[in-house]
Symmetry: C2
């Protein structure tokens, strides 16, 4: 985790908070690669497994050609499936991991996602040195790597359902308002999930979106209300939860590392001690690129949902 994220309300849940966002490396990209490796190794150790026991790593990040994940996979020396779902990457990894275990061809999968404020800023936006101002709807890319091990047996929380998202685009073109661009996709996936599983929002202790931020979360709650679902009392958003309340992060956090750490370090623990009985994790992604933006395209969104339940009622 980055230093600012470590100062947030979840700070004491994280396995490691960096004071130096270069992590003793020569570049932020190399630092992010090292963070990704650390997250995977820590998750595997904490699940009392050896790296050799892992059938595959499913992971991604926001850098072009997902180099944080690929170069980390080179060092980890286990079979690797690279994915890209922007900030929806972590729930995409979890749902793929769950389904691969369901296919009986794998017993144990590690799912990971990573982002770094400084690598993302210079790739997607402007050089940090410019000190460009940000509008209130913008979000800060989280410096965070998170990982989670899925097994075909054990006593931990269970992954029970997943719902794949469609790419949905309501025509928003403002890359500083990604929450609003992603909210329609999140609303669609959540509504589809609830209809397909014949559940009501209140059947979940939490419906946790990836990183819509404050503005996007408001849009989500309104859109779901229009479709007859009230999530206002049990909705949480990883992008809102991760930073200190007084941090200068505008609408909140973003980046696929955000939901990866908020789920893996915070909500998963609550599922483990059954203080949370069940939750729906819905990481949300904005599928834009600097190239598509320059070519006048709007911002498509996607969201995948993964349902977990505590193994035993608390």
């Amino acid at each position: 985790m980055g230093e600012l994220e470590g100062k947030g309300p979840l700070g004491n849940h994280f396995d490691r908070v960096l004071q130096d966002d270069l992590f003793n490396q020569k570049s932020w990209e190399k630092a992010e690669n090292k963070m990704f490796q650390f997250a995977v190794k820590t998750a595997v150790e904490k699940s009392n497994m050896q790296m050799d026991d892992i059938d595959c790593l499913i992971g991604g990040d926001l850098l072009n050609q997902i180099i944080s994940s690929s170069f980390a996979a080179r060092e980890l020396n286990i079979p690797f499936l690279g994915i890209y779902g922007a900030c929806s990457t972590f729930s995409e990894a979890l749902l793929l991991g769950g389904l691969l275990i369901d296919s009986k061809s794998m017993d144990c999968v590690v799912c990971a996602a990573s982002t770094h404020f400084s690598t993302a800023e210079r790739q997607y936006r402007t050089p940090l040195e410019l000190g460009t101002g940000r509008p209130p709807t913008s979000q800060r890319t989280t410096t965070a790597s998170g990982a989670c091990v899925l097994k075909n047996a054990g006593t931990g929380p269970r992954l029970t359902h997943c719902t794949l998202g469609k790419v949905i685009d309501w025509g928003i073109k403002d890359a500083n308002n990604m929450g609003a661009a992603m909210a329609p996709a999140a609303a669609d996936t959540i509504a589809t999930h609830l209809l397909e599983t014949a559940k009501a929002p209140k059947d979940y202790d939490y419906i946790v979106t990836g990183d819509l931020g404050h503005h996007g979360s408001e849009v989500l709650i309104k859109l779901l209300k229009q479709r007859g679902f009230d999530v206002s009392s049990n909705h949480a958003d990883c992008g809102i939860q991760i930073y200190p309340e007084d941090a200068d992060v505008q609408s909140g956090g973003s980046g696929c590392g955000c939901s990866a750490v908020v789920f893996s370090a915070y909500f998963l623990k609550q599922l483990m001690d059954a203080s949370v009985k069940n939750l729906l994790l819905v990481s949300t992604g904005a599928l834009l690129s600097p190239t598509s933006t320059l070519q006048g395209e709007s911002i498509p969104g996607i969201a995948h949902a993964v349902a977990f339940e505590a193994c035993k009622e608390g």
Copy 2:
């Protein structure tokens, strides 16, 4: 398919050969998006399905943030799993599709991959207008979109096995010699596959690598010989097969669209009429980025293997 690819030995197998590589669009990126859509729609139609019957699209491409796939998925309006495996993307999509069907949660999946010479050149290399010369080990990114439908039932060829690859890096730093960078990964995946399935190379009519090109294929055959496997008589490479013999493409074709179309338009037909009894498709990816290259990193490779057999002996 691009015009040059259409003039190659497989030209008459392709569903559509473009004379205009802009495909009536304003940019090459938008053209690649349209090609991707065309490939998916054609594959779905040819399998006598409707788009609504498809449980999900698994796909990727080489553009940053896989915008060709994501923006195509927006138009296709079906659940989407974005993946990134560089030129290994197509076999990654097939193996994921096969395993998701094995998990019983899906009945029908469409797998697709796409590349475009002009979008890749300007993203990865130099502006086309510079007319930069190329060394003999370099490969030409294929202008090609290919797609394939996997179903849980039917009379077509069967996907029987898959072997996930590890990221392997032997320290090659020359982005104009990607075949050699990918060959160790291909050799490792093929050897692992043969050992795990207790097969010999001759058990397959063809062992088809994604796009090692001439140089990379030579390296592969040598590396496998060192491990006791002789694939010299039944190895084929999509990157070698796709272009006319006299084309100015140095070591051959590359790009994840290459193995997608050579498999979907050529080898799949031979599996369908049982003129090929079985084959192992091994798409190979070079996981570099311009950023990692600038930061002095070498080129990691990855290769995933997917085995097919003709449904009935011919």
